[in-house]
C-alpha cells in the first residue's frame, strides 16, 4: 500500500489546521454560511437532511487495518456508531457536529487519510478495480497509476474550479469491475506490442443525462498519461459549459462537440503538453509502484478447501473468487444482509473487518463500488475460520452479484437531494428474494436503486434499475431494464409508467419471472433481456 511521504503528510496536516481555523470562525459568527459553505465542501462536509455529513476519501478503495480501525473510531466517537460505504468507494458519516469536524480530520490525518476533494467541482477520489493486483486477468496493477493520479489531481491549481465535478477510474483488465466507462474519464491499462499504456475513454457518466464514454485514444504510452489527462482536462476547462450546471459535465461537451472533434482538440493540446515535462520521471513511477509490490505470499500452499459444511460451501461458491497466486483466494464480504441497509457497517463490524484483514489478508482491505468489502489475499486454508468470524458478525451473507446484492444510494432517508427513499425498497426486494436457492436460481442479477435523478445508486447501470421520483409529493419508482456497468456496458431502458413502493417490488418479481420463463441455457438476466427485448417484460408488467 502507498505510504505518505513528508509532502503528502504536510499537505494534509496543513489543511486540517486551516479548516480548524475556518470552523472556529464560523462557530464564532465571523463567517456566514454562504462564505463557509464552499470551505466545508472542499473538506467533504455537507449539510444533509438530518445533520452535517462527512465524506471521507478512500483512494481507489484501498485501506489498511489501521485506517479501517480509525473509520470505526470515528463512527463510535463522533457519529452514531456506524458508517456508510458508498458507490465511489468512500465512506460517509451522517451525524457529524460541526465543532467535531476538525478533530475528525485530524484523526484521519494521523492515519494518512482525509476528506479533501470529496466534494466540489474538482477531480474526486480516483476509483479502481477492487481486485487490483490479485486478479489473473489484469495486464498490470492499476493502483500505481491511480496513486500517481491521486497525487497529480490533489490541489491541482488549474483543476480546482472545473465546470463541474470530475471522476476518474483506472482498471487494467478487460473485465470491468469498476464501471469504468461510466466515469468522466475511464482508463483501461492495456499492453500493446509488449508496452503498457492507457486506453482512454472520456465523457461517461450517469446522472440526469447518462452516457457511455466513447474511446478517445486507443493507446497512450504509460509515461505520457499525465500529459494526456492534462490535455483532456484543459479542453474541458476551456470549452465546458459553466452557464448551466446540468449541462456542465464533460459528457455534455464530448457529446455536443462529437468525439472526433473533442479528440482533435485534445490531440492539439497534448502535442504541446507532452513537451513541457509534466510527466513524472521513471524513478518516481518506480517509487510509487514499489508501494504496491505483492505481499510476501507463502509458496507451496494447497488449493484444497473442505466444503463439507453446506453453508460454508455456499458462501465459498458465491463470495470467494480466484486469486492469481496458488493457495490464495479473494474474499468478498457482503454488506448486504437480507433486510439490512446496503453499505452500512457498525463500528464493531468495521473493527472486526480490520482485525480479519490483519490476521488473514496482509492487513489490507478494499471497498467496492458495489458497497461491499474485499479481503484480497486470503489463504484458502484460512477460509473456514474467516467465514466463522464473519458469520458471527452478520457479515457472511452469500449474495455477491445476486439480486439481493443491491446497490442503493442513501435516498430520501438521508439525502437532501433525493426525491424518494431507496433503502426501504432495497430492503423489501431483498426480503422478497431472501431464499438463497431462489437467488442462486436467478443467477447474476445486478439491481441498483437511486432515490433521484443524480443516480448515485447507479440505476442506469443496473440489469434491473430503479429510479425514485416525486409524483406530487408521493414517492414513485420507475423501472429500468438491461443496464450494465461492466465490460458489456449499457444504459437501462425505462419500462413505462412507475410504481408505488409495494408495486415496484412486485414489478421486479414479474421481471424475474419473464426472465426465468424465457432464458436459455447459461443466459444471465441481462443476456435474456438483450435477446428478447423489452416487449415481453412490458407485457407482464402492465397487463
Amino acid at each position: 500500500m502507498y505510504a505518505y511521504d513528508q509532502y503528502d503528510q504536510a499537505m494534509v496536516d496543513a489543511r486540517v489546521a486551516e479548516f480548524r481555523d475556518q470552523t472556529a470562525r464560523r462557530l464564532a459568527g465571523q463567517l456566514t454560511e454562504d462564505q463557509f459553505k464552499p470551505l466545508r465542501l472542499m473538506n467533504g462536509l455537507y449539510l444533509q437532511l438530518h445533520a452535517y455529513m462527512l465524506r471521507v476519501a478512500i483512494p481507489y478503495g484501498t485501506l489498511s487495518g489501521r485506517q479501517m480501525r480509525m473509520l470505526a473510531h470515528i463512527a463510535r466517537k463522533y457519529d452514531r456508531d456506524y458508517g456508510h460505504f458508498t458507490t465511489r468507494q468512500n465512506i460517509q458519516y451522517n451525524w457529524i457536529r460541526l465543532a467535531d469536524a476538525p478533530d475528525i480530520l485530524a484523526d484521519l490525518a494521523s492515519v494518512e487519510m482525509h476528506a479533501i476533494q470529496t466534494s466540489g467541482n474538482c477531480i474526486r477520489n480516483i476509483s479502481s478495480d477492487q481486485y487490483a493486483g490479485v486478479s489473473a486477468d489484469e495486464v498490470t496493477d492499476p493502483r500505481p497509476l491511480a496513486e500517481l493520479l491521486r497525487q497529480w489531481s490533489s490541489f491541482h491549481p488549474e483543476f480546482t474550479y472545473l465546470p463541474r465535478k470530475f471522476k476518474i477510474c483506472v482498471i487494467a483488465s478487460e473485465q470491468d469491475r469498476a464501471a469504468m466507462r461510466l466515469h468522466d474519464i475511464g482508463i483501461e491499462l492495456v499492453k500493446k506490442d509488449g508496452e503498457i499504456g492507457a486506453r482512454i475513454f472520456v465523457g461517461g457518466g450517469m446522472g440526469r443525462t447518462p452516457m457511455v464514454a466513447p474511446e478517445i485514444r486507443d493507446f497512450v504510452p504509460f509515461g505520457q498519461v499525465v500529459s494526456y489527462l492534462e490535455a483532456c482536462l484543459r479542453v474541458y476547462n476551456r470549452y465546458g459549459r459553466r452557464d448551466n450546471k446540468y449541462k456542465a459535465r464533460i459528457k455534455i461537451l464530448v457529446h455536443e462537440l462529437g468525439a472526433d472533434e473533442y479528440r482533435a482538440r485534445v490531440e492539439q493540446e497534448f502535442a504541446q503538453m507532452k513537451t513541457l515535462g509534466l510527466d513524472p520521471p521513471l524513478a518516481e513511477l518506480e517509487r510509487i509502484a514499489a508501494h504496491f509490490a505483492p505481499p510476501p505470499y507463502e509458496t507451496g500452499l494447497s488449493d484444497a478447501i473442505d466444503l463439507s459444511d453446506r453453508d460454508f460451501a455456499q458462501w465459498v461458491s458465491t463470495q470467494v473468487k480466484p486469486h492469481k497466486v496458488p493457495g490464495y483466494a479473494i474474499v468478498n464480504i457482503s454488506l448486504k444482509p437480507i433486510g439490512g441497509i446496503p453499505g452500512d457497517a457498525s463500528s464493531a463490524q468495521i473493527d472486526l473487518m480490520a482485525d480479519l484483514a490483519e490476521r488473514y489478508s496482509f492487513d489490507e482491505l478494499r471497498v467496492t463500488h458495489a458497497q461491499n468489502i474485499v479481503l484480497a489475499h486470503v489463504r484458502k486454508a484460512d477460509l473456514p475460520a474467516l467465514w466463522k468470524a464473519l458469520e458471527g458478525a452478520d457479515l457472511a451473507t452469500a449474495n455477491l452479484d445476486l439480486i439481493s446484492d443491491i446497490i442503493a444510494c442513501p435516498g430520501l432517508d438521508y439525502c437532501s437531494l433525493a426525491n424518494a427513499r431507496s433503502i426501504p425498497v432495497a430492503q423489501k426486494i431483498a426480503q422478497r428474494f431472501a431464499d438463497v436457492g431462489r437467488q442462486q436460481e436467478l443467477g447474476e442479477l445486478k439491481l441498483k436503486i437511486s432515490g433521484c435523478i443524480n443516480a448515485c445508486g447507479h440505476h442506469h447501470a443496473g440489469n434491473i434499475g430503479i429510479l425514485g421520483v416525486d409524483r406530487k409529493g408521493v414517492e414513485n419508482y420507475q423501472l429500468l431494464l438491461g443496464g450494465s456497468g461492466a465490460e458489456d456496458v449499457a444504459l437501462g431502458q425505462i419500462t413505462g409508467p412507475g410504481f408505488d413502493e409495494d408495486g415496484i417490488v412486485d414489478a421486479v418479481e414479474k421481471a424475474t419471472d419473464v426472465y426465468l420463463a424465457n432464458r436459455t441455457e447459461g443466459e444471465r438476466f441481462v443476456d435474456t433481456f438483450r435477446r428478447i427485448g423489452m416487449a415481453p417484460f412490458k407485457e407482464a408488467l402492465y397487463a
Binding site: 449539510l47 457536529r97 430520501l412 432517508d413 437532501s416 408521493v474
Partner: protein, 98 residues
C-alpha cells in the same frame, strides 16, 4: 399553516421555529403566517440557524405534520433507523412519514 425550519448551526440538527427560539420537535412549531421568510433571515443573520425555509404543514391537535414527505423525514429521522430518530420507542413511527 406555515412553519419555519432549518438546521442548527453547530449540530446540524433539524430545528423548527417556536416563536421564541428553535426546537428539535416539530410539534413545537408555530404558524408563522407570512412572517416566516423575515424571521428566517433574521435568525440566519444572527448565526443561529442554517438555510431556514418555510413549509406547509397541518396541525392535528397538539401534533404538527409537514405537508411533504421530505420534511416529515426531517422531522422524524431516517425511516430505516427509527432507533436514531425522535421516537425510538415507537416501532410504527415510520408510518407517520408515509
Amino acid at each position: 399553516m406555515k412553519i419555519l425550519t432549518g438546521n442548527d448551526l453547530a449540530t446540524g440538527d433539524v430545528v423548527w421555529w417556536t416563536g421564541t427560539g428553535w426546537s428539535i420537535h416539530v410539534d413545537d412549531a408555530i404558524d408563522v403566517g407570512d412572517k416566516g421568510e423575515q424571521i428566517g433571515k433574521a435568525e440566519e443573520a444572527a448565526q443561529r440557524v442554517n438555510v431556514p425555509y418555510v413549509i406547509d404543514a397541518a396541525r392535528d391537535g397538539t401534533a404538527v405534520r409537514p405537508a411533504h414527505i421530505k420534511d416529515r423525514i426531517r422531522a422524524l429521522g431516517p425511516t430505516v433507523r427509527l432507533d436514531l430518530g425522535l421516537k425510538p420507542a415507537d416501532p410504527t413511527a415510520g408510518n407517520w412519514v408515509i
